[in-house]
Symmetry: none
């Protein structure tokens, strides 16, 4: 089934609210064989709502709306769409008693405000989608040609409950969702540019006949998303697995995970399986690496702790970096990075020391040590490496990408011991 | 000016990406008198793109698009919209040289991939909107009737830079933005619940006749957003200032800033003005406090460094917390929090020591020390306090809110020395 989505509310046009409802509805229905043909957002104006819904009915004959079902004067979805279907409105006594019961259940005094009565003025001949959480009932309207519009509230919690508990069962019972589904699988890479990936994938760079491929670059690296559309669930899964296997073979060492798995999770799990522990020494990243590791539940069995050595005195006092070394090479140098990694590893008694020192910017750069230069040292005791990274764009980007590179250096050391690749500059 | 916004990408229809670009563009242009009439999202299909842009040109004659300018086969915005305007494409040598220069500046070997050439195939007669960050140039196309379409990339960082640095100056220079504006002002509060704020604001809790008020709760606290619509810029500013003054007086010590100012920025500035320095000792927050402070450019003149003492041995070795104290009270205790704050302050020679120790969850809670319990200690040397916080929802929420409370304790000590309020549990 293809359908149109119309989200309603002035706040969406003013940019005061980010529309998360649309993405939620799209994901839930895609899994069941529903595909959005187009998304439209309009303001709280009856003529705009009617026009958008009318156009959508022309296109696909199947429309879901969110928003504009509340009790105030700017809630115009009900009458606007009733007019599109040529229906009169009636007062729904059953729904009004539900609102009264809800009012009393919440221990509020007296009767619900008169304004709530507007919410139970419904189009003749509709199917009511009862609201399991709030006051606004949803509405399902269908014409004699089988074209339909389902109206859901804009409050995300109410919308989600009504989609899953009311609308989806209704669409399934009427055979309106397809047999076929849309399914995706994401392979996560880091340390390699989009254009390089394209070259590595060669003839598969543009995807496959039966599976499309999208490149999603972000701070963590480039995600490769495979998508199968309009196939039975088991066929979709089999195609995804076959195509993912090809990409995995081509991307080899650059691939760190799948789905929503993050690099800190991967590194923690690799270390946990080998009983390795980590300690960090951070200058320019200022605790971001430690924070990313400790954001993962259960990280304490691998991560022992770290030092944020922002001032040079802290590099000396807590990490044992010699003052002479700092004087000779400066804080941003491969020598100091290595000394920080060794220092924190020894002092915390960890298997692995990771250190970062660099220029996060926006100020403080020099021709020799420009903004974005970060030295990354990894010390396994019997194996040490230092990498020179150069990262771009903003302070935030530089800091995040530097921590990603540092984690990836640890991952590669464990997963791909023979790998000689340095850190890519991006 | 009214305009239409068309965001392009299969991921928007599949619900795999939440469209934040639309909200950003809407806000930026509303400030300058531009109002979105309708938002549409379509997939990566040339006919869908052309149809949506064609319809939008009929409606308002002014269209901004995002997405589909990349180097891969699913990037179809350029040719699809060129066809709507009846333009041929040409190879733009100037933009190609820009991409080559960017490639070399990032120290990559050889020439940029052939795929990038697609990005500089531009419609005849367009105005190029140069990309200050990435490879994809933006495009501004106008027909003889003055109807126009501006194409921006979908990557948020690039889109934002190009909107502000290229498209808005172009629209202003051509007199395409309006006289009346929508303006907002945000007052930022922390440590106080939405319902409490509503009581503190009394008769103004629902806003004012001429200025609307929205409550925006988030991890940092509750923001109060005042908005004026459809007024000349100077009138809007005067109304906002008058109403903000009322809210400021009512919210007193809970108000930490305005606009997009963050609490780390406020604390750093308060300390900088008094030549105070900060050192941090973090257990459950694992470096997040240090990372938030060091995310601010120039933080190094206030923030000296910190210790992430995840393992108990690190609390002892780097912070001098006595083993007997850890044994007697446990790591999550007011005693250990105070010893951590004092230890890090002394060892790093800072004016202020801040320490956090708690249970971030989701596991590890006990009846006496439940998930969400965080002890926060602040040590100014001659003034010491320890606060018991209890935070809720997720590990991420608990960690973030704990760092926010710790920073707010420092802010209040400096800004409101007589204040006796503890830390609010939320």
């Amino acid at each position: 089934m293809r359908f149109d989505l119309v989200t309603i509310g002035d706040e969406l046009l003013l940019g005061l609210t980010i529309d998360t409802n649309g993405a939620f509805i799209a994901r839930e229905l895609a899994e069941l064989g529903g595909q959005i043909a187009r998304r439209v957002s309009v303001g709280d104006a009856a003529d705009e709502i009617a026009r958008a819904v009318g156009e959508a009915l022309e296109r696909t004959g199947a429309v879901i709306t969110t928003g504009g079902l509340g009790p105030t004067s700017d809630d115009l979805t009900r009458p606007a769409i009733a007019a599109v279907f040529g229906r009169d409105m009636y007062f729904d006594e059953v729904q009004w008693q539900r609102i009264r019961a809800l009012w009393q259940a919440r221990a509020r005094p007296g009767e619900p405000p008169e304004a709530n009565k507007q919410q139970v003025m419904l189009p003749e001949g509709c199917v009511v989608l009862e609201n399991p959480i709030g006051t606004a009932p949803g509405i399902f309207l269908e014409d004699s040609a089988g074209r339909w519009t389902a109206m859901l509230p804009g409050v995300p919690g109410e919308m989600r409950a009504m989609l899953n508990e009311r609308l989806i069962p209704l669409l399934l019972s009427r055979g309106r969702l397809g047999e076929n589904v849309v399914r995706s699988r994401t392979l996560r890479t880091t340390g390699v540019a989009e254009s390089m990936i394209s070259e590595m994938l060669g003839s598969n760079a543009r995807g496959f006949d039966d599976v499309s491929l999208a490149y999603l670059p972000g701070l963590e690296g480039v995600d490769l998303r495979l998508t199968v559309r309009d196939a039975p669930p088991d066929v979709a899964d089999a195609r995804l697995e076959a195509r993912a296997a090809i990409l995995r073979a081509r991307m080899e060492r650059y691939l760190y995970g799948q789905g929503t798995l993050t690099l800190p999770e991967v590194v923690l799990e690799l270390c946990r399986a080998r009983a390795l522990t980590i300690a960090t020494a951070e200058s320019c990243t200022g605790g971001l690496l430690a924070s990313r590791l400790t954001s993962i539940p259960g990280s304490s069995d691998v991560f022992l702790g770290g030092v944020v050595s922002y001032a040079n005195e802290v590099k000396e006092s807590l990490l044992g970096v010699p003052q002479e070394m700092l004087d000779a090479y400066g804080a941003v140098s491969s020598e100091v990075a290595q000394a920080m990694a060794a220092g924190v590893r020894e002092r915390l008694g960890a298997s692995i020391g990771i250190a970062l020192t660099g220029v996060a910017g926006p100020g403080g750069g020099t021709p020799e040590k420009p903004v974005g230069l970060v030295w990354i040292a990894v010390d396994f005791g019997d194996w040490q490496r230092v990498y020179k990274g150069h990262f771009f764009i903003s302070r935030e980007d530089i800091r995040f990408r530097a921590t990603q590179s540092a984690l990836d250096a640890v991952r590669r050391r464990i997963e791909v011991p023979g790998d000689k690749t340095g850190i890519r500059n991006d």
